[in-house]
Symmetry: C2
């Protein structure tokens, strides 16, 4: 069940480290130079002008606008339901302990460039930050050769109340948001996917005291499908391929207790693959894929739990009954009418998920990632009396006099 190795690349690490140093020391000047070098465009302003946001809606088709609107509404609704409850407990008479929640002040959202715009990722990050109530939302995305960004991205940003968009990509964008420059604010936490330069830069700034927190470690996207003889092979094949088209390093795995289903899926994959515009990429990725024959459903689930997939699709009879046995997965798609693309785009769940086995120890992106938890305590004099002896005895056992004294001096003062 081991994944294809992500190569540790010292050259990449050095290049990124150098970019971070340049941005840290020279700010906007370094950004402008790096943008010219990597994106081939000279920018007079790093910040997207407000008018480019105002006109976004008029530049997209009605159908794409409706699609973005529906996805935005569903994502917002699901994340609004995630608001955490504050907690207040009186652990002993006069000892009140509270857990409180607050939105992060400022967040940085990275949206990759490339051949096609990714408005869905703007919504996944932006709507969640908006629901959390983050006061400042900064979005960085690389400009095209003409210094523009896609209208779909601009429109999605306006829905999420994002009005600070910077035309910066790559490691330099991460550096700008982590350290701040003359024109780009330093943020508390950076979110979003990216190429190897972006993910390396996120990792580097996350371990620097002058950097920023990040959402989660990155890895190639992946899906595991558990299917039985009741599954529709065409649906299963379509789900495997929709993962495979993401990139050559994507993993698509089918685990089934039905040999005939596996054979039928293989045939379907071949048929459907030939019709895809990204058939080269998807075909290469399918070479890394696996078709695993299990002895029964329980073993299929065991394989999935061991692999801990980012996306898990369960196309078996009574699919919901499997949920109690599934231990590790970023997001679970239940039954034949729940393709991965539903969650990727429009159902309301977040598509930023732990991959590469991180579903064991990291969470799906959610409202909680845009908030902080902190505690409050308030003791009355009686409360301090009630736990004072315990505090003093523990402080003494740990050899911390002054900790003991901070209680003793208060209790003595009232004697």
């Amino acid at each position: 069940m081991s994944r294809p190795a992500m190569t540790d690349n010292n050259t990449l690490s050095d290049i990124v480290s150098d970019i971070l140093s340049q941005v840290k020391s020279r700010g906007d000047d370094a950004i402008t130079e790096l943008t010219e070098r990597f994106d081939g465009v000279q920018l007079a302003n790093l910040k997207l002008p407000q008018c480019a946001l105002d006109t976004a809606q008029s530049e997209i088709s009605d159908s794409v606008k409706s699609a973005i609107d529906m996805a935005y509404g569903n994502i917002k609704q699901f994340h609004q339901a995630q608001f955490p409850q504050d907690v207040r407990v009186e652990t002993q008479p006069g000892v009140v302990c509270e857990l409180k929640h607050a939105a992060l002040d400022s967040v940085g959202l990275y949206i990759p460039g490339g051949s096609a715009p990714l408005p869905s990722t703007v919504l996944m990050l932006g709507a969640t930050a908006q629901v959390a109530g983050c006061a400042r939302k900064v979005l960085c995305t690389p400009p095209d050769k003409n210094g523009n960004i896609a209208a779909e991205i601009r429109y999605a940003a306006t829905l999420c109340d994002i009005n600070e968009i910077y035309l910066i990509g790559g490691a330099q964008a991460i550096a700008a948001m982590a350290f701040g420059t003359q024109s780009i604010p330093k943020v508390d936490k950076i979110f979003g996917p990216g190429n190897s330069f972006v993910t390396e830069a996120k990792q580097q700034v996350s371990t620097r005291a002058d950097g920023a927190a990040i959402d989660m470690p990155a890895g190639p996207s992946e899906v595991l499908v558990i299917a039985d003889a009741h599954a529709n092979p065409a649906f299963v094949a379509a789900d495997l391929l929709s993962q495979a088209e993401h990139g050559r390093d994507s993993q698509a795995i089918l685990v089934s207790n039905s040999e005939s289903l596996i054979q039928a899926v293989i045939t379907q994959v071949d048929n459907q693959l030939s019709q895809l515009s990204r058939k080269d990429i998807a075909g290469d990725a399918m070479q890394n894929g696996r078709y695993i024959l299990s002895k029964d459903l329980a073993q299929s689930i065991e394989v999935s739990n061991q692999y801990a997939p980012e996306h898990l699709i369960v196309q078996v009879e009574n699919a919901r009954d499997t949920l109690s046995d599934i231990k590790h997965a970023g997001s679970i798609f239940v039954g034949q009418w729940s393709p991965e693309s539903a969650g990727d785009y429009a159902s309301g769940t977040n598509h930023v998920l732990p991959t590469y086995g991180y579903a064991r120890n990291y969470s799906s992106l959610g409202l909680a990632d845009f908030m902080r938890r902190y505690t409050v305590q308030e003791l009355s004099y009686q409360g301090l009396q009630n736990i004072g002896t315990a505090i003093m005895d523990l402080a003494q056992a740990e050899g911390l006099d002054a900790h003991r004294q901070a209680v003793a001096i208060r209790l003595e003062g009232r004697k």
Copy 2:
């Protein structure tokens, strides 16, 4: 408001990286050698025998036992109240999205060694893991010269149902839990404080795909006290000193709008300092301390928000009224009867907190850190019809054919 720099130390990084490599490649043999070298003890068994747990209670005084029991009860009660609610939302008819929570499978808890045992840290990590329901809890702590660990630590561990204790300290302990060895299980996430080798090792394993997640970045402990003319200078001084005695790099800061209060606190610090057993350490730390005169309470709060202290003590008239203006702090102690030592030991709040400015973007340790969040979605055929067009239009806008096809093939199949 800048903090004393934590020096980036390439030598430290190399030493730790070498220790990780040794443990990764040679497992238990490397651990045994490193323990002999660093802790000066040859261990026949890395694992603490069960009998050493069984006898712990009989080896400690009744007063320390009572103190540990009370702290354990309060910590457990406060963290039990933090159980998150699962979420279920039907975002569109037939489109059900859920957020679910599960305990991490296996966690590693690191307890530093040194001059005095730290049972309180065992409780902060162990009771929280126990409440979360983590199936496997591994504790590592360095042995003393005789190969033993303090009875207080063993007793606290038994309360938390920890029965796997390994006599390993330093970077080698972090490596053992991150990678696993012949006798030590690989864990999903590592928690706990430590010296510079431990914190460097935690940072390194947290960025390796074969490593483990960690609780939060580390830094020197710190307190900021906001006080006004109504505060008791002896209490304020005791609180500053109880922070200062942690280590020479600890920071203790007083912000007050009352010059006479500041003067009185300085006098009290001098008086109380001379009576402390750790007066050398606390005295050195107070050299890094600051006494800041503000023009009013609002400015005191502004200073604190900018500093984002790990511990914030508010000793002003009507202290609770300040809470709505306080933005960044790991844990807030309200009023004169709430010394930091209450939260360090026994009130019920967790003493593992974001320091070094990380209170801006990281959370106080809590139940959530021992759990994972994941999502589930289930669409009916009608549900897929309702959002299918939006999915297909977005997939097309992003140039992802196969994503579109996974919906189209399902909807066409029923026509």
